[in-house]
């Protein structure tokens, strides 16, 4: 294969990768499922924030609870 063809192919691949990356990134500014920030649940009484590492359930009765004493 002639040298000029190799150079042209490399340039085209580089250009395609650059354009393709730019299109993808501008179309995916933020993934809604990315756990960058923990979810915040607001209720009448206050705000609950739990990181994804903490498993929770609204159906399960707690055995005991944290509280002011």
């Amino acid at each position: 294969m002639p040298a000029w063809m190799l150079k042209l192919t490399a340039c085209l691949l580089t250009g395609l990768a650059t354009v393709g990356s730019a299109v993808y990134v501008t179309g995916h500014l933020k993934s809604p499922s990315a756990p960058l920030h923990p979810p915040v649940v607001a209720t009448a009484a206050g705000h609950l924030t739990l990181s994804p590492s903490i498993k929770s359930s609204d159906d399960q009765q707690p055995l005991t609870f944290t509280s002011v004493s």
């Binding site: 206050g46 609950l48 924030t49 739990l50």
Partner: protein, 274 residues
Amino acid sequence: MSPEHLEFEALGTVCQLYAVDCDARSLAEGAAWVLELHRRLTRFDPSSELSAFNASSGAWVRVSATLEDLLREALYAHDLSGGLVHAGVLHALLAAGYTHTFAEVESGRTTPRSTIVLDPLPALSDILAVAPGAAKLRPGYGIDLGGIAKGWLADRLAERLGENCVVNLGGDLYARGIGPDGEGWPIGFGGTTIYLRDQGAATSGTNKRRWGPDLHHLVDPRTGRPAKSNLEEVSVIAASGTDAEIYAKTALLLGRQSAEFYLEQHCPGWWLSP
């Protein structure tokens, strides 16, 4: 699997122990241990080891290994909270009117009175020194361990009770192990149920132990007076009961805006009210 359970009163509050693969006798021994340490560490009993230390007037005095550990914990809490969790607040609590247990206040045997306007507190390391087997307190100051002892005791008692247990001392707790069903221990937290494994949780608030407008048990060392915060209650999850208690108090004293930023750096979960 249903865990063994024991409920008892100590530390001026209700305590609960739950444990899997642990017999009732071990739980009873755990409760007795808490009651014994309460007797030695309460500031309300003039004959307690803590009261004797508070009366030592600037001299180096011998302290038990337990009191030494707790005094070191107090210095750790002061450092971890940037000075906001301050065990040297006894004179400020007394000046604010917290001179008797709440059981005595509620029974009508005493009426708390606030009398003195105070200054900011010096750093805890400026008034408390701890060495192996001994400690020294600057004259005019006193130690109150109410702000750190429950979480500390919960962590230690969980070690005694085995690999799978929850120790809840008046709302400050440590959950050790996988829980009764292998998912973690189900704990009520901010209106929902969370599952904790080898983690602590604690709540700090100004809506209990109150005896008048702006008079409550949580002293802000920056002012020497009961804290004025736009938060009434903070619950947090942390790696231990001790740390949870420290983070909860720090966040409450910081107020809502700074609390959220602070807790993001330290805790996997929190509840702020209102």
